[in-house]
Amino acid sequence: MEVYDCINEFERDFSLMELLGGVDRARLHAALETLLGCAVRLLDRDGRPVLGSAHAAGGQRLALAVELEPVGYLEIAGEVAPAAAQAAAALMAMILRTGARYLMASSLHLHTVKSDYEELQRRHEALTASEARYRDLAQHLEQRVAEQVQTIDQNQRQLYQAEKMASVGQLAAGVAHEINNPIGFIKSNLTTARQYSAKLAEYAAAIKAGAPPAQLQQAWRQLDLDFITEDFAALLDESIHGAERVARIVADLKDFSNIDRSGTEWTDINERIRSVCNVAATQIKGDIELVLDLGEVPRLRCDAGRIGQVLMNLLLNAIQAVADRGRIRIATRPAGDGIAITVEDNGCGIPREALSRIFDPFYTRREVGAGTGLGLTVSRDIVAAHSGRIEVQSAEGQGTTFTIYLPVEVN
């Protein structure tokens, strides 16, 4: 902040000596005396002589004004015509005014140069300070970037986890039903089997007691053991089959959920697709035809759990797209130095305006709560992490095709 608490140098009243600062006073004095033909003196505003000798005292005194009030006086010792005296005073005033103009201009100039310089210095200091801040920032930038990367990494992992939990949640109800169903009939079969074994025990007791053959034959018929022996085998077969079904579902689910298994392994993608279809089968209701068209493809070195997550996402999307009626086709084929996986449906399709946004995080066209809006984002990230790419083609009302290209080995 500039200080303006005292009067500016250029505004103050200058003294006669200051005003004559640029003038050769001896020559001025000589010129005045020559012009007027007599001795002259110049006095300051207080009457003190500043030019000329004392013997000229006592003549006529003319005020010399630069602005309004006299800054000094011209004293003429001899008899001089009033007009000549006035002309000499006017001439002096002009000289003094020129001096005043010079003094005002130069002191104002100095003032502005000084304040401009101070302003520049202030800006220079501010720039120096800001440069130091930026240098400091640059030095810490690498560390800050590393911290940020770590934060982003952590957030991404949480995001993946959240998305996985959402898919698992969507599956859980169907899976529970699918497991409940065989468990139900296994339990019912076992209850029946207990009744059958009781009847067999009753018959065994008759044999042990040495009952005659006729009595035994009668007991056999009474206990309906012809039917029981036949049905016992059948219900055991059915129960074993049911238990195998549960075991398979659990194995597939375990396979699917085990996506945190770190590292990559050589994986048969076709097998992975079958496993995903088994888990998702619980979601297929109504008149949906699921076609697997799996070609001869090389094994991939990949993170099998995560690729399974991608396939599950695409399959669940396709199931939602066809609603209760439609056809979903999953195909694999070799492509370049890797394979192509196609998930195709003839469902509702994606509107053109939404197509460019479907991979954006949190973009969803489903109702609030029905989707995380992360499925395709995470899928794209997983595929990208495998040096692959994911493409989509869609026509509204006709269906959607997602194609994933994966190299045999991650670069």
Partner: protein, 217 residues
């Protein structure tokens, strides 16, 4: 800020003509020099460049005497209007007792007027003047030219403010004395109490103004 000299016999009052470049600030001073009839009138001192642009400032000294014998000296300054000379404008504006803002009435100058007025407010703050209480008169100059903003438009814009507006044509002297008189009244009200103009020097507002202007408008 008015200055009383050491002996207490001279009060110097500083008045500044502010405004955008080429709005007629120097012309105002020259015209005032011609039309005013105060007791004391100095020569106008111009510090200008070749092409009529003020480089530092112009100065017109005027003087009146109070019945008490007190000399009241008015120093009328103009500032350089060109944007580049802001440091000079600040130095000249510092310690001003009153300001005339000379606006250019030409339609094309609206933006320049606004920017110059904003610059006046900014610089007033920078040099420690309270813009709210600073005596200020707005003059719309160049009313003689074609293509100028209409009077009612000017008035509609400024009536919401506390500053009076005067229409002028400085080149013919029209309105310059009125502008000056309006400013003097406001300046008198601002300095009277501190310097006891009425009480100690028997100089009331009307006399203060009429002595400085001299004669009828």
């Amino acid at each position: 800020m008015a200055e009383l000299d050491e002996s207490g016999s001279k009060l110097t009052i500083k008045l500044v003509y502010y405004g955008p470049a080429m709005s007629g600030k120097t012309t105002n001073l020259m015209s005032l020099h011609d039309v005013l009839r105060p007791e004391l009138k100095g020569e106008i001192m111009t510090l200008e460049t070749k092409n009529d642009r003020t480089l530092f400032f112009d100065l017109l000294p005027l003087g009146i005497r109070a019945p008490s014998g007190l000399l009241i000296k008015f120093k009328l300054y103009t500032v350089p209007g060109q944007v580049a000379h802001d440091s000079t404008r600040k130095a000249v504006l510092s310690r001003a007792d009153g300001v005339v803002f000379v606006a250019d009435s030409q339609l094309a100058q609206g933006l320049n007027n606004a920017e110059a007025f904003e610059n006046l407010a900014d610089n007033a703050a920078r040099v420690g003047l309270d813009f709210e209480t600073l005596p200020l008169v707005v003059q719309y100059n160049k009313r003689d030219l074609p293509g100028i903003v209409a009077e009612q438009d000017v008035l509609a814009r400024w009536t919401t403010t506390s500053w009076p507006v005067v229409f002028a044509s400085a080149v013919s002297g029209l309105g310059v004395r009125t502008t000056f008189a309006e400013l003097l009244r406001r300046v008198y009200r601002a300095v009277d109490a501190q310097y006891q103009l009425a009480a100690a020097h028997r100089l009331d507002e009307d006399r203060f103004v009429s002595a400085a202007v001299g004669g009828a408008d």
